[in-house]
């Protein structure tokens, strides 16, 4: 303990922090607190309590920020890599495509898997969503899935007809339940059906019987999917509904592959299956591939299959690649065609114009701030109100006012023509281009430059400049060597504010930017509200955020964030 009385701790006494350090220094020492516990542990406990208290005090605000700010942004940014829709909607197809080499049209099993996936997706109305998703990557995917969805109901109809012609029992829901369902489920379902009137809750979840998945793998898979979908979507029971035709088609395939499937069953089921297995090879059914080609010949094209394969993983870099003018193809990453590259241009333009606007704001704002800081209080206040007045006016009103001023038949052009500076035919194009955006945004962001500059200049004592002059400096030298360096923190603060605000600006460029004066944020807005490609919007937003953070880091390295002052 005595050691602690030497350094600065002599004033405050031993705090948990310094005590801990002392205890650590005496490694192996048997320092104990008054109650006999080792000092190190008791000090640790005290320290932890203090930290927890501090944490509890910031917790409400921290939680608020996490829930209302960080979580939504993280969720939105997460969309830039998320791609579960393909593997969730077409699970069988994605697996079947794994072995596909990409050279020719895929083989029959892939089409069979697609037929099964689509039959389910159409019932769940998911196929059109998948189509819209794939359409971002391949044109015409949207209508391909929409058209195929309309035809998907009939896939397997021919097989179903053969089965029914062979034995009308195949039309009976009970036949299928007897074949597919586990005895436990049949019992539970019967019990539920008996008491269904008094709100017994939903029907018990369907269960396959043991062994059927081995004997008739595809039919069992499809039947289970059928039972699940009609239960959740329509509130129907497999005991009352004839299965989809695709189940019959799958059964046909299973019986061809495994003619002895009936061996695993007994009684009437076995007879029924045996009869069907015998007759099955003679059934005339269209292959899945031909069925799909019949619905739409685009299924014969490898493009759509390449896209499904390239985007089959649950997470994708595809959106980020699109955001930097690249694309994901079956052979890897490739550049977008020349005439579709826009994002690199837009990112570059956004940076360039934001820097230009920032520069204009410094040039225009510095003299005003200087004037404000050096005028007598009363006139300075009046001037300050003039600076703030537009700040309090609606952004839209100010932007529209610029339209009236800048357009070719507008006030400025009219004045120039009237005064003879330009001819009537040579009116200046000041709006719907970069010039318009720079003028309007400089005006809108100017207060964000003037205010920090003003508050920093206020604190520069006038005696410094007077002292410099008394030592023989000219006005200019005094300003350059004495005044200006002291105002640099204000410039830094203003530049950061203006630059970061303008890089994400959206409304003003949209209204006055025309085609050459729009920013990347206009494209983000387009993808959020018009094209609905939220993944791409999220990727563009993430890149924009990263660019700002990198620039901020660079600024910190070069200028130093400590040198920034808001006053």
């Amino acid at each position: 303990m005595t050691d602690a009385t030497h350094g600065p701790d002599a004033v405050t006494g031993v705090t948990p922090d310094t005590g801990l350090r002392i205890a650590e220094q005496r490694a192996g020492g048997e320092m104990v607190a008054a109650d006999g516990t080792p000092l190190k542990r008791s000090l640790n406990r005290a320290l932890r309590r203090e930290k927890l208290r501090a944490l509890a005090l910031v917790a409400p605000l921290f939680l608020f920020i996490v829930v209302t700010f960080i979580a939504p942004i993280a969720d939105m940014l997460f969309r830039s890599v998320e791609n579960q829709i393909v593997s969730e909607t077409l699970p069988r197809t994605v697996v079947a495509l794994e072995d596909w080499d990409g050279d020719d049209m895929p083989e029959e099993p892939v089409f069979a898997a697609l037929a099964q996936d689509l039959a389910i997706a159409v019932e769940l109305k998911n196929h059109t969503r998948l189509g819209s998703r794939l359409n971002y990557e391949t044109t015409a995917a949207s209508s391909l899935f929409r058209r195929t969805g309309r035809g998907a109901d009939d896939i397997g109809e021919d097989a179903a007809d053969r089965f029914v012609a062979l034995d009308p029992a195949w039309e009976e829901p009970a036949t299928w339940v007897g074949l597919m369902a586990s005895p436990d489920w049949i019992e539970a379902q019967a019990e539920w059906a008996a008491g269904a009137d008094d709100d017994a809750g939903p029907e018990p979840r369907f269960e396959l019987r043991d062994g059927v998945a081995d004997a008739l793998p595809r039919a069992a898979d499809m039947y289970a999917a059928f039972a699940r979908v009609i239960r959740t979507e329509d509130g129907d029971s497999p005991t009352e509904e004839e299965p989809w035709p695709i189940v019959c088609r799958a059964l046909h395939g299973d019986l061809i592959a495994n003619p002895d499937a009936a061996a695993g069953f007994d009684g009437a089921n076995a007879q029924l299956l045996a009869a069907a297995a015998e007759a099955a090879p003679a059934f005339e059914v269209t292959g899945f591939r031909d069925t799909f080609l019949d619905i739409d010949e685009d299924w014969g094209d490898t493009t759509i299959w390449e896209t499904i394969k390239a985007f089959s993983s649950p997470y994708t870099a595809g959106y980020f690649l699109s955001a930097v003018d690249l694309q994901l193809t079956a052979d890897g990453v490739a550049r977008q065609p020349e005439d579709r590259q826009i994002y690199g241009l837009l990112f570059g333009r956004t940076l360039f114009m934001s820097l230009t606007i920032m520069g204009c704001c410094v040039l225009l704002g510095y003299p005003i701030a200087f004037l404000l800081a050096n005028l007598p209080m009363r006139s300075a206040n009046l001037l300050l109100i003039l600076v703030l007045l537009p700040f309090w006016t609606s952004l839209l009103v100010r932007t529209s006012a610029w339209k009236v001023l800048l357009q070719q038949q507008g006030v400025i052009n009219d004045l120039l023509v009237w005064s003879g500076i330009i001819s009537d035919g040579g009116r200046l194009a000041l709006i719907n281009n970069q010039t318009g955006t720079i003028i309007a945004m400089t005006h809108i962001l100017l207060p964000f430059m003037i205010l920090p500059l003003y508050s920093v200049m206020k604190t520069i004592p006038p005696s410094y400049v007077r002292a410099a002059k008394s030592l023989g400096a000219t006005n200019f030298t005094a300003f350059r060597r004495v005044y200006f360096p002291q105002s640099v923190p204000g410039i830094g603060a203003g530049c950061i504010l203006v630059f970061i605000l303008s890089i994400g600006y959206y409304i003003t460029p949209e209204l006055v930017g025309g085609t050459t004066g729009t920013f990347i944020s206009n494209r983000i807005a387009y993808h959020i509200s018009q094209s609905l490609n939220w993944g791409l919007a999220a990727a563009l937003g993430t890149i924009l955020l990263a660019v700002v953070l990198v620039l901020y880091w660079l600024y910190d390295r070069i200028v130093g964030i400590d040198n920034v002052s808001l006053g």
């Binding site: 359409n135 209508s143 005439d339 579709r340 241009l345 025309g514 509200s529 094209s531």
Partner: protein, 370 residues
């Protein structure tokens, strides 16, 4: 007598309401486009409906421009705050595809025509473009031009290709800042027949050809995003001709009396109508259905045409279109569907655009940015 019958009907209505087993919400949020169009809906069927059902409060939300994004966000948040949404035909298709709008059977929820024709036939297949769409009006994208341009020396543009003719018709144009319609017009004026337009646009060469045609007027073009832009630009004299919705031009010409005239040639039809968001609760859905049955009947759609120059979507409404409610002029000649105006019209291929929108848009935007 009048008062008595009114009291009788009110009384009957009061008795009839509890007799209905369905529970209906008293609040309904309708999403529309604002402006003159929303006003026509208000006058033609929302106010009359509220007179019949004074307990109903209608909240307007002017967000139809972002309807698809809004409905997706509401659906993902699991909090549907819109009850009835006014969208274009193309948006209704996308909402249906995404499962965000409810599929409806027109014959089940909409009134038949006065002569008993079922609603599906009265609207017709060309109007019912998706399973979720309940059409209200047909409008068109067409051009307006100023009638006082000195350089034109008395000539007036009377066919679409005059838009591309800078020699005879110099001056700035305004076109919409997206590929829709512009590509079709460009190809048509480059000599492609209407029936081949979309086949041509599917090919890379066809797209380049359309853009090359647009290139000829690119530096003389202002690109608009809001429907109000072209009317304003025309009125200010910023542009000498420009495309926009025909109803907007009607109000510039007839209501504001500007020196502007219509170029009906090659107008492009589009549709506007209602969709019901998927996932409404029972009382809200019942109210919406009750309102829709009334608001889309033959008379109501014809009444709407008295407020705005858009053609009613029902065939049976056309003969009932009368005069403008305030100006007192005949509306029929101002309808995009009027035979004199429709001689060279074309219908946007929504399904085609649903497929090619993303691809063509990136190409179009890249072209614009150059």
């Amino acid at each position: 007598m009048k008062l008595k019958s009114l009291m009788l009907t009110t009384g009957a209505a009061l008795i009839a309401v509890p007799a209905l087993a369905q529970e209906m919400a008293d609040e309904m949020t309708i999403v529309s486009w604002g402006g003159a169009y929303q006003n026509s809906q208000l006058k033609a069927y929302v106010e009359p409906y509220q007179e019949m059902h004074p307990e109903v409060e209608v909240i307007w939300d002017e967000s139809s421009g972002e309807a698809v994004a809004g409905m997706r966000a509401q659906s993902e948040a699991g909090n549907i705050t819109w009850d009835l949404v006014d969208v274009t035909a193309a948006d209704s298709m996308r909402l249906c595809d995404e499962g965000l709008a409810m599929e409806v059977d027109p014959d089940e929820i909409l009134a038949p025509a006065p002569d008993g024709t079922p609603a599906s036939e009265d609207f017709g297949e060309e109007m019912l473009v998706s399973e979720c769409f309940i059409p209200q009006i047909a409008y068109s994208y067409t051009f307006g031009y100023r009638t006082d341009v000195e350089e034109w020396e008395g000539r007036t543009p009377d066919e679409i290709c005059d838009v591309f003719n800078l020699e005879e018709f110099p001056g700035q144009r305004s076109l919409e800042k997206r590929p829709h319609n512009n590509m079709e017009w460009a190809l048509y004026c480059d000599g492609v027949a209407w029936e081949d337009i979309y086949d041509t646009l599917e090919t890379e060469e066809g797209q380049d050809r359309a853009l090359a045609k647009l290139d000829t007027i690119k530096d003389q073009t202002v690109w608009w995003t809001a429907g109000a832009d072209t009317p304003q630009l025309l009125a200010d004299g910023e542009v000498v001709m420009g495309s926009t919705y025909n109803g907007r031009l009607f109000s510039v010409i007839e209501e504001q009396d500007q020196p502007v005239a219509m170029l009906w040639d090659a107008q492009s039809y589009d549709l506007d109508g209602w969709v019901i968001p998927e996932g409404l609760d029972e009382p809200a859905l019942n109210r919406v259905k009750d309102f829709l049955y009334f608001a889309t009947d033959t008379q109501r759609l014809a009444d709407q045409a008295a407020w705005i120059s858009y053609g009613p979507a029902r065939k049976s409404s056309a003969p009932l279109v009368g005069q403008h409610a305030e100006l007192g002029i005949d509306m029929a000649p101002h309808m995009p569907t009027n035979p004199d105006n429709a001689s060279n019209a074309f219908v946007q291929n929504y399904e085609w655009w649903a497929d090619y929108r993303d691809d063509l848009d990136s190409k179009f935007q890249a072209w614009l940015a150059q």
